[in-house]
């Protein structure tokens, strides 16, 4: 080990040191992040109530209005705040509040209107998000130390990516070298895996590291209370448009389907509404949310006057600044939440690969060090015993 370490050696050591001292933390964050990408699909697997099973092959969706009517028949006192159906294989979720002031999210079958179950108070999705995103450390004044700890990992992750490319000379030749040498011991096999998985997930590690770095910047902005939002203050329904309704009479409001159709008309082609928020008081609008047709990473929304059915405010792609388009795309890009199940599964696969790379990196390091020190120990012992022999033979 004498002499000047070569440049390659330096990059190699840097590559090892970037993650090695914190490998368990990085591994934990990668693993929980992987699970978080498919948390709703896991929920779909474990909880039949969350599935949108068709009662018959020809069954038609009853829509939010049908589901709301069915919900009110089953639970007349329930007051519904929003309804959501993000994928057609998920049940409609309806958030309701009850006379005892408790709230629950109900799973409603989109074909029969049956209330199939209730979401737990803390869903798998929100739990995994909190565990992955801020280690469950509560927010105080917009800041969670956990958020900083996790998002700061973007720096060693990006560092590992860059130093890995420098260390792995001519990495572009590695794409089709599907060679993992199992016969030469665990260290060699893990090393082959580490390199192969590394080149194939270059793009993914880059995406995750850069988007996570943005999440770090975002935390700094929250702490410093800096906002780049161009969204204006919320618009209210004009007082004179709110009807006077005598007790016992129904409040004349447009249906959810009418609100969604009004939003579709007002927003650019391809808008796909998946979320409707009911009025939060007599002066607030019904809010319709959905993915943009042209850039599905972002949501567009429209505020519908529930008494007239007119769209009185909206938030379109074109209302956002370029900076907002980029920064608002970061979270969905990080989570793989923009292209349905296929993208989620790709993110989960590469997330698992990344977790395994962290783990294999740690194994390679420990095995190499252990082997090298064992070898050195043997050599030293031999030398030492030889020295003793020499001393004895050489005489005093």
């Amino acid at each position: 080990m004498g002499g000047k370490p070569s440049r390659a050696k330096f990059w190699f050591l840097l590559h090892s040191w970037l993650a090695m001292p914190i490998w368990a933390f990085v591994f934990f964050v990668c693993l929980t992040g992987t699970l978080a990408t498919v948390s709703q699909e896991i929920n779909w697997l474990v909880d039949p109530a969350f599935r949108a099973n068709k009662p018959s092959a020809t069954a038609q969706s009853i829509g939010f209005d049908g589901a709301l009517a069915a919900l009110h028949r089953a639970e007349p006192a329930a007051d519904v705040q929003w309804m959501m159906q993000t994928e057609d294989y998920f049940a409609i979720q309806a958030r309701a509040t009850y006379p005892d002031a408790s709230s629950a999210t109900l799973y409603v079958n989109p074909y029969s209107g049956a209330i199939q179950g209730r979401a737990p108070e803390v869903t798998l999705r929100s739990f995994l998000r909190a565990l992955h995103g801020w280690l469950l450390v509560p927010f105080k004044g917009g800041t969670s130390i956990g958020w900083y700890l996790v998002s700061a990992l973007s720096i060693p992750l990006l560092g590992s990516l860059i130093t890995g490319l420098i260390v792995y000379k001519k990495f572009w030749r590695g794409f089709f070298k599907f060679r993992i040498r199992f016969s030469q011991g665990a260290r060699v096999a893990w090393g082959d895996f580490h390199r192969l998985a590394g080149v194939w997930s270059l793009w993914f590690v880059g995406v995750i590291a850069i988007t996570a770095f943005w999440l770090l910047i975002q935390a700094v902005m929250w702490t410093a209370r800096v906002s780049i939002s161009t969204a204006g203050p919320p618009v209210m329904v004009a007082r004179e448009e709110v009807p006077i309704v005598q007790p016992g009479q129904a409040i004349p409001r447009v249906s959810m389907a009418q609100s969604m159709e009004a939003a579709r008309q007002a927003l650019p082609e391809g808008f796909h509404p998946t979320f409707v928020g009911t009025q939060a008081n007599a002066y607030s609008h019904v809010r319709v949310w959905g993915r943009s047709g042209s850039w599905p990473l972002l949501y567009e929304s429209a505020s519908v006057n529930p008494y007239t059915g007119a769209v009185e405010d909206s938030r379109k792609l074109s209302d956002r600044s370029k900076l907002e388009l980029v920064t608002e795309s970061m979270r969905p890009l990080h989570a793989g939440d923009f292209g349905g199940l296929a993208v989620k599964l790709i993110w989960a696969f590469f997330g698992a690969l990344l977790s395994l790379m962290v783990f294999s990196g740690m194994l390679i390091w420990t095995k190499r060090t252990a082997q090298a020190s064992a070898a050195l120990l043997k050599k030293r012992e031999r030398l030492a015993s030889a020295a003793v022999v020499l001393q004895q033979e050489g005489g005093q």
Partner: protein, 177 residues
């Protein structure tokens, strides 16, 4: 590598296991687990409507429970100045009759100046009370409720009753006239 060989057993153990000490970071989510669960459950109203709830009070033909959402002092909120969240829960029969509720420090002169509007289901609805720069001795917290039939009803609580934290905050700032 020589360090490994010459080292005492303790040092050797340290060199061997030091990189696994980062496993200890997993204690962070373990420690915060129950606090985090409690915080997430607050949103479901299962732990009561707020952190400090007042007794039921009549307001016109209706009745309401008011609560401080948190026991924290007011927080700065940009142009609005300082705000403090409150929660109101109206009786089951009155909910279909109410179209809006407002909260303000000091008696509102008219409905347009009735204060912060409540948002969310009237079974458990929230408003961010805007805290004025100074407090007059006689000022109370006023709840204004507007019915769908156009009727308006009001009630009020002394600050000492509705939010001792807020009163203390005014005292500390020396902003009581």
């Amino acid at each position: 590598m020589n360090a490994w060989i010459d080292a005492s057993p303790w040092r050797r153990a340290w060199l061997r296991w030091r990189f696994h000490l980062c496993l200890l970071i997993l204690l962070v989510p373990v420690c915060f687990f129950s606090a985090s669960m409690h915080e997430q459950r607050l949103d479901s109203g299962q732990q009561g409507i707020g952190m400090r709830e007042l007794p039921v009070k009549a307001i016109g033909p209706w009745s309401v429970r008011l609560a401080e959402k948190t026991l924290m002092a007011p927080t700065a909120d940009g142009a609005a100045g300082h705000v403090k969240p409150f929660v109101a829960a109206f009786c089951q029969d009155c909910v279909p009759q109410i179209r809006a509720a407002y909260l303000r420090i000091g008696k509102p002169r008219n409905l347009r100046a009735a204060g912060a509007l409540f948002y969310g289901s009237l079974y458990r609805t929230e408003a961010y009370l805007v805290v004025p720069p100074t407090l007059k001795q006689a000022d109370q917290i006023w709840l204004t409720v507007e019915g769908w039939d156009g009727s308006v009803h009001q009630t009020s609580w002394p600050l000492a009753e509705a939010s001792p934290v807020l009163l203390d905050w005014f005292k500390q700032q020396g902003k009581i006239e």
